[in-house]
């Protein structure tokens, strides 16, 4: 159904995105970080969980370019390995929350009336559930599982997305081009996906770029509580947490994962801004 939209709007959007220098730099940075995360652990001569108690807290040098931690593990291997998990959690959980949140919010806002009221009360109830208890419950029910982490985080983050989408949908629903679509006899599905959804892209992208860092941090909190990633596995969140504790003794433990984390967040935000502008036909073509 949306093939036609994507062919022309997509092509225009790509042209506009290419013209935006900050977005293109960000895109390359992200690709670079993803590349390092995927191939970095293999390139390193150390494994991420290989301990060497003779060489603990070694500062960055020739052997260990990022230094070592309290157990003598190579920080480069740990940071790049952690990147896999952080990026995967960040992006996948965000996609999960987007899919659930946008469809739920759009549906609720479009239908309106009593169904909308009940759907939003359900969101309120879920908001009130303590997040950690919810995750513990999931873990108890389904056992500890990497995939479950994505779903658990995504299943919590979608609530705000649903509210934002609903509010936007209710606004757009009243606009005359939606009414014109009804007068022309379009089906509800068509109106929702072809006419409403593309006009929601702006706020969705902005919120998505905010969700990715939030999700990465949540993963760190979960790991800290022993619900997420378990040592010796690593993620940026957990590395930063460990690093922060040993900041006085070994600042590089905080510095390197921190740089990676910040750099990807900056890049994501700029890319998000660029995407939002690129997908808006109103922004100038050149």
């Amino acid at each position: 159904m949306s093939l036609e939209t994507s062919s022309s709007l997509g092509r225009d959007a790509w042209l506009r995105l290419r013209a935006n220098r900050m977005s293109m730099i960000s895109l390359f940075i992200l690709i670079g970080i993803a590349f390092v995360s995927i191939f970095g652990p293999a390139l390193s001569s150390y494994d991420y969980d290989q301990q060497n108690l003779d060489r603990v807290f070694e500062s960055p040098g020739k052997d260990h370019i990022f230094g070592t931690d309290n157990l003598g593990r190579d920080l480069f291997a740990r940071t790049t390995y952690g990147g896999r998990i952080s990026l995967a959690v960040g992006l996948l959980a965000t996609v999960v929350s987007l899919v659930i949140g946008v469809s739920y919010g759009m549906f609720s806002g479009y239908i309106g009336g009593r169904i909308d009221t009940w759907m939003m009360r359900a969101v309120d109830v879920l908001y009130a559930l303590p997040f950690t208890i919810f995750v513990i419950l999931l873990m108890v029910l389904f056992g500890r599982n990497f995939l479950l982490l994505f779903i658990a985080i995504g299943a919590v983050e979608w609530l705000t997305m649903a509210r934002i989408t609903r509010a936007q949908t209710m606004n757009l629903k009243k606009s005359e081009f939606i009414e014109a679509a009804r007068a022309l006899g379009y089906s509800h599905g068509r109106i929702l996906f072809r006419h409403l959804l593309p006009n929601l892209i702006g706020p969705i992208i902005v919120y998505a770029t905010l969700t990715v860092p939030a999700v990465m941090l949540l993963e760190a909190v979960l790991s800290f509580l022993g619900l997420g990633i378990q040592a010796p596995m690593s993620s940026w969140g957990s590395l930063i947490k460990e690093g922060a504790e040993k900041m006085d003794a070994a600042p590089w433990l905080l510095l390197f994962p921190g740089i990676f984390f910040c750099l990807s967040l900056f890049a994501l935000n700029f890319l998000g801004d660029g995407l939002r502008d690129a997908l808006d036909p109103k922004s100038s073509k050149d």
């Binding site: 022309s8 014109a180 006899g185």
Partner: protein
């Protein structure tokens, strides 16, 4: 009206003299010369009308007097704005603040957003006096209350704590006038102060404005797009076109003897109550020599349709539409009945809130009906069965008021126009559909080159043409035109009206033409219904209704139309200042 106590106060009898003013806007797309060398002067006590269409630079000129332009992107390039011996362009912000509201005040267009909703009306009207140190708080409240009574907002006497939301649009605009005049300024800048109001309210507000300004000796710069309206109160009229003043003269002379082709066009292209040409003249006709054929059409009186011979296309009986609100249901349409004949145009007139738009939407089943019946070609409309639904949606269409909001901003014109055909299975192949789209675009006066553009790349008039083309994609018989020219300049309005008329003739369309503008409705319609408070108060042939209105409400509506807009041979006899 109670007389105004003239307190002894040294008053600057201001003399505004704008010379060679140039204002430009520096945007990403380039430099726009909004005002390009304007000369304008206002003598003390004079009322000057500044007329032009949107984008002509009239509001920018007005705003630059008080330096209220957004800087950047706006920049005053050149010129002088002399106010009682001082050049305002050299004034810094602090000096300007001493002038704003004290010597020169301003009234804005939208009464709904010009008052702060969190402060009481009395407080806001008193505020300028306090700020400029002209009165103590108590005294200011007293003067404000007097001024509000003068403009006819009696409510503040009993309810000094009333907030803006408790007032209607007309009352709020009166409060704005009181706020601007409470300091007894020497000059009042009024930027389209009555455009957002209904005709009857507009007439009242104008007369108050005129009486007060004459009594207080305030000179006025009245900015408007409506030449007829300006003629009601201005001593002198200045006409702007594309950033330049093209003509200025006494109001009487402008109408009796316009010089510039654009001014001639402005006077000619507005439909009046008396004439009924087949085609309205447009600005283009005056700026470029026109063909003899079109000229002939303008002289030709439109033949009146023999209505009795036409079969009934649509019959509406006792329609009731209610909207639920927190204070219980509100009846937007309250037992309305009308009959629309095939091939005719049925006009529907009324003020805002009269239920005319809701009636139009409920005929298309875009609003839920409570009771009553709608018969289309003698049969009730059934939306339950998909085949019937598709047939109904194909044969009835709607064109909305705001051409900016009624096109999906993320679809190209081609996609917008192809979609209805695809949904309804019109045309067998994509190629055939695109051909039809191109034909439609040409029919509404646009070319093939516009296919791959997005709505924001078009002007308002072009967008409305696209909306007309979209309505025609399904080959409908019946189209509801809901205030479809209300947001447009008179020159663009004339073009769209001509288009709608010629399409009606070539495609045998039936229109329900909804508008608050009686002149426009008169031009378009064969029959007219007048609506008030959800009820139809009068029904009849267009000519009869205008010549001998039966209901008081219709008479009131007709009397509220500015004189210049009633007749093409308008003459003004007013002593010049």
């Amino acid at each position: 009206m109670p007389s105004i106590q003239n307190r002894p106060r040294t008053k600057i009898m201001g003399n505004l003299d704008i010379q060679n003013l140039k204002v430009s806007f520096h945007t990403r797309e380039g430099i726009i010369h909004a005002v390009d060398g304007v000369d304008l002067s206002i003598k003390p006590g004079e009322i000057v009308g500044l007329v032009g269409e949107s984008g002509s630079g009239k509001s920018v000129t007005c705003n630059s007097v008080l330096k209220l332009l957004p800087v950047p992107p706006a920049r005053i390039e050149k010129g002088q704005i002399e106010w009682s011996g001082k050049d305002l362009i050299d004034h810094d912000e602090q000096n300007m603040q001493a002038i704003r509201g004290k010597e020169i005040s301003m009234i804005f267009q939208d009464p709904m957003s010009c008052l702060n909703p969190y402060l009481s009306v009395l407080e806001q009207v008193a505020e300028p006096l306090v700020i400029h140190g002209m009165a103590s708080l108590e005294d200011a409240r007293k003067q404000a209350s007097e001024m509000l009574v003068n403009v006819g907002v009696q409510r503040v006497v009993d309810h000094p704590h009333a907030y803006p939301h408790e007032f209607s649009g007309g009352m709020r605009q009166r409060a704005m006038i009181a706020m601007a005049l409470v300091t007894k300024p020497s000059l009042l800048l009024a930027d389209e102060p009555t455009t957002a109001l209904d005709v009857t309210v507009q007439a009242k507000v104008l007369s108050i404005l005129k009486t007060l300004c004459t009594d207080l000796g305030v000179s006025v710069l009245f900015v408007s797009h409506d030449l007829g309206l300006v003629a009601e109160l201005a001593d002198r009229v200045v006409v702007m076109y594309r950033g330049k003043v093209v003509e200025q003269n006494h109001t009487g002379s402008i109408f009796s003897n316009p010089q510039h082709p654009y001014v001639k066009a402005l006077i000619a292209c507005r439909p009046t109550l008396e004439s009924n040409p087949v085609r309205l003249p447009t600005v283009d006709d005056f700026m470029n020599p026109k063909t003899g054929k079109e000229q002939a059409l303008e002289k030709l009186v439109a033949p009146s349709l023999n209505l009795d011979s036409q079969e009934t296309l649509l019959q509406v009986e006792n329609l009731v539409v209610e909207f639920p609100t927190e204070d219980g249901p509100v009846r937007a349409v309250d037992g309305a009945s009308l009959m629309i004949r095939k091939g005719s145009t049925h006009g529907l007139v009324g003020e805002s809130g009269s239920g005319k738009t809701t009636l139009g939407r409920s005929i298309l089943h875009l609003a839920q009906l409570m009771s009553g019946s709608i018969l289309y070609q003698g049969k009730p409309i059934n939306l339950d069965h998909p085949d019937d639904r598709s047939k109904f949606r194909k044969s009835m269409q709607i064109i909305f008021q705001d051409p900016y909001a009624s096109l999906n901003p993320r679809l190209t014109i081609e996609q917008t126009l192809l979609e209805p055909m695809k949904v309804h299975g019109i045309g067998s192949s994509r190629k055939e559909r695109i051909e039809r789209v191109i034909n439609l675009l040409e029919e509404v006066g646009l070319g093939e080159e516009y296919l791959h553009r997005y709505p924001h790349e078009f002007s308002g008039g072009q967008r409305q043409r696209i909306c007309v083309a979209r309505a025609l994609t399904t080959e409908p018989e019946f189209i509801v035109c809901d205030e479809c020219v209300s947001a447009m300049d008179v020159s663009v309005q004339a073009q769209v009206l001509n288009l709608l008329r010629s399409l009606q003739a070539s495609r045998n369309l039936t229109y329900l033409f909804i508008s608050h503008d009686l002149g426009v409705v008169k031009f378009m319609s064969d029959e007219i219904s007048v609506m008030q408070n959800g009820k139809i108060v009068e029904n009849g042939l267009a000519d009869d209704l205008y010549r001998s209105p039966k209901s008081d409400y219709t008479r009131k509506l007709l009397n509220s139309i500015p004189l210049a807009n009633r007749s093409a041979n308008f003459q003004i006899n007013r002593p010049s200042v």
